[in-house]
Symmetry: C2
Subunit: 499 residues, 2 copies
């Protein structure tokens, strides 16, 4: 085969695959936002049928040969095509190594586990879920061994989610985080808390919708490229740089909840909308990794959105929109209220300071599970012990404990660390951005576009062309270093709580 | 091949095709309701890719052989499978007979015509659209000849949209309609009009959304099977009986607009939700024909929704929801206001009495176009002449004249008559329903479910298993007869206008 012919064939397959992924992505968005309740069954059937088609399109000898041929000639490919081939190989590596009957069986087990987990969570009944989790852990370890026999299974999965971040890096990272944050949180807890009761007055959803529009405009989000919908759990999904969707959920007694979910998801959306035009239709559209994606959402949410400068920028407008609820409240009080930190039970509701300890606990647990050092039967006890030790809280029930997250029920082990890494990336990126930009002044003056321009040029435009470690080099001229994150949190919360 | 094997293969193909159609349907719904504006380009690319896949799935020798085999053994098939095969053959008949290069060229022309029409309508510039329409007419005639050389082209297309309704039937039908309605409308026009100014006070969209929910509940629509969205032009789309979507558009200065669009689309939705369970996943899901579908929407909208009994049922609630706007208005006044009839320019805004004359004009024009008796260049003059003659109105510009509808720009000739036939079916069905049910009393008492039960048992449950003419036999024990429609309109409007 000629290179050109092979590349054309490869690109053609990518286009078709993109069409399927687009359609399935829209169906997923639709079922979460618009579909009536009873649509679920038909949705499941169609998704299963289309998944089978896409599976067959990519998992077949002809495609393997094509990819192997292109891989062998990767020197002759342009950068984007080379990365596309590399990502295709990566996504197929596991499928190529697993016996098909085990793969099918695993799909069944995963789907069952997911459905049992939903029920178990409602009933707070871990025993019900445990046998399913056990099977998933077993398969997860086994599959890693198929794909990479000489690699520690947890390292295999960590590397899948965040390339280059295996246990040696993460042990060091989390060790430093724990050493710094556990005592910092203790000191914070000894201080009086700011009053945030005004955030919990009645905030009508209709008005909050207007606030969302305002925040998106402050972020410079082009609404012709990005819509906002409403779902129980906020999320972002993008089909190409001109079609990105964010969602939020309005709680009428919690102003900050939707406000910060819009800024968070708006950060994810900004990343995708700022991909370069050459990634239109490419499988490299999106973010470099889960961690890098999360770094952008949390950058906007916390580093920008919860900064004093941002509050100075937006508070007058927010007060104008909610004059009764925020009567007499100052920007300083609002700033302190949206930055209240205290140990809690649920990761997704955790504040900026304590968040990474929630992730650390999950890291330690899944590490032990995959290394065979923790039996799934003993998981709740270990979970509760760690929450007590690191965060000082007593877990009242598994619903608010080890059953709270869906990740494990979906077979994702090794995903959690990327949430924390995202925050750490963000702090490191900020430190270097500040050498070039006066970030606080720009934000205070409403010139967020200049911050976003910097991120677009250093991160967003690359989509998946560059890997997380390469992007950190581009942004910072150095490798990943957790010290910036620790310094950032220590500095911010020492000032906030006058330590 | 064994019959069983062939049927299994056929059903498997149907399932896969259903998955594609489901995905494309959701994408279409999404682009109309939720997608950001700039999503259009990516949407077009994905739809083109998936359309090509589905085209290849059905238009191939292997599939033709399968269908021919099953057709040859149709006696051995159960009723549903037999009808599925028949419909598949019908939908492929044209594709099998058209040279592939002409089909591809036609797709291009159609897509171009559609896009030019949008612009031409905005600019009210028929000359811009005319060359495209000319090509479409030419292809439409040619394709009919390929598919059925011995049939008059317009008869071919009419029969495609509404089986059994060719020019001889429709000439008779429209002749009677014209003879009865033109003088009736003249008499109505001599009478004073009821005041409907209260319908054009300010009706906030938020409140109108609550009215939609109320109307859907009055209609007995299970919201777990049917959602409501908002689009510029209301429509209904259904993926299976448990996943139907209606849309509406709220005009804050026109209460009746959204109100009757919800009832109209709710009628379409009710039809699909009432398909029998055995049609889940079958291509026979939906309605027997365009005309039969329209008969149900217009039955709920006009025959039920604009009846005195229905106004008695819902007006107290509507007045409660809009106490200021409807202060002092009586149910009788409301009834007269929503039934105001007068000649107008735009079909989609026409009242119940004049509606079929709008359709008649289109019927006469497309008949002449396809018979070569009218040159596309002369279309506006003919259009304007007919509007003056039948409806007594002067057409000020082509935007409100012959460019108003999208149908011809999409290559649909022969579709319009089904709109009018739907109304006529409804009146005939009503006459026979009344032999078994006291429709007015049921409606007045809020027992619409009994009316819907009757329609489900006589029409809805069959989906596409039965054809329009068969359904009329089931409902009425007789063939189509326009006299009921004429009697219904004459009676209703004679009373309303005290003729």
């Amino acid at each position: 085969m000629e290179i050109k012919e092979a590349v054309d064939l490869f690109k053609k397959k990518n286009s078709l695959m993109a069409a399927y992924n687009h359609a399935m992505g829209v169906m997923y968005y639709d079922i979460e936002t618009a579909a009536p309740k009873n649509a679920a069954h038909g949705f499941g059937e169609t998704m299963a049928a289309l998944s089978e088609v896409t599976y067959k399109l990519s998992v077949n000898e002809e495609n393997f040969e094509l990819l192997d041929f292109l891989t062998a000639h990767s020197d002759e490919l342009d950068e984007i095509t080379r990365r596309e081939v590399e990502e295709a190989q990566k996504s197929l590596k596991l499928l190529r190594s697993i016996p098909i009957d085990e793969f099918v069986e695993y799909q069944r087990i995963q789907s069952e586990a997911s459905s049992v987990w939903h029920e178990a969570k409602v009933k707070s009944d871990y025993a019900m879920f445990e046998p399913h989790l056990r099977k998933l852990v077993d398969y997860t370890r086994r599959f890693a061994k198929y794909a990479s026999p000489d690699t520690d299974p947890y390292d295999y999965w960590l590397n899948e989610f965040e390339e280059g971040f295996t246990q040696d890096v993460l042990d060091d990272y989390f060790g430093k985080i724990k050493a710094a944050l556990v005592p910092l949180i203790h000191r914070v807890m000894e201080k009086p808390q700011a009053d945030d009761s005004f955030l919990h007055k009645h905030y009508p959803a209709a008005r909050q919708r207007e606030l969302s529009a305002y925040l998106m405009s402050v972020m410079g989000i082009n609404r012709d490229d990005c819509s906002i919908g409403e779902t129980e759990h906020p999320f972002t999904t993008g089909f190409n740089k001109h079609d990105v969707r964010i969602t939020t959920h309005y709680y009428e007694d919690a102003l900050a909840s939707s406000m910060y979910s819009v800024i968070h998801e708006g950060g994810h959306a900004t990343y995708e909308m700022n991909n370069s035009d050459e990634l239109l239709g490419s499988p490299l559209f999106g973010g470099a990794s889960c961690g890098m994606h999360e770094s952008q959402s949390r950058f906007y949410e916390n580093i920008i959105g919860r900064s004093r400068a941002f509050i100075d920028l937006v508070f007058p407008k927010i007060q104008e929109m909610f004059p009764e609820q925020l009567d007499g409240v100052t920007a300083e009080q609002f700033y302190k209220a949206v930055n209240r930190a205290e140990p809690s039970l649920v990761r997704t509701e955790a504040d900026e300071l304590t968040y990474s300890l929630h992730v650390l606990i999950r890291y330690e647990i899944e590490k032990k599970l995959l290394r065979g050092e923790l039996d799934t039967k003993d998981l709740p006890a270990e979970w509760n012990r760690l929450y007590k030790e690191y965060l000082g809280v007593d877990v009242p029930c598994d619903k608010e404990g080890c059953l709270q997250d869906s990740h494990w029920s979906g077979g994702s082990f090794g995903y959690f660390p990327s949430y924390s890494l995202g925050s750490a990336y963000g702090a490191q990126i900020l430190a270097h951005m500040k050498k070039e930009l006066d970030v606080d002044s720009l934000v205070r003056n409403g010139e967020l576009n200049k911050v976003t321009d910097w991120l677009r040029e250093h991160i967003h435009k690359y989509g998946m062309i560059k890997k997380p470690k390469e992007l950190l080099q581009i942004c910072c001229g150095e490798d990943f270093d957790p010290k910036y994150y620790i310094e950032y949190l220590t500095d911010k919360f020492s000032k906030l709580y006058e330590l």
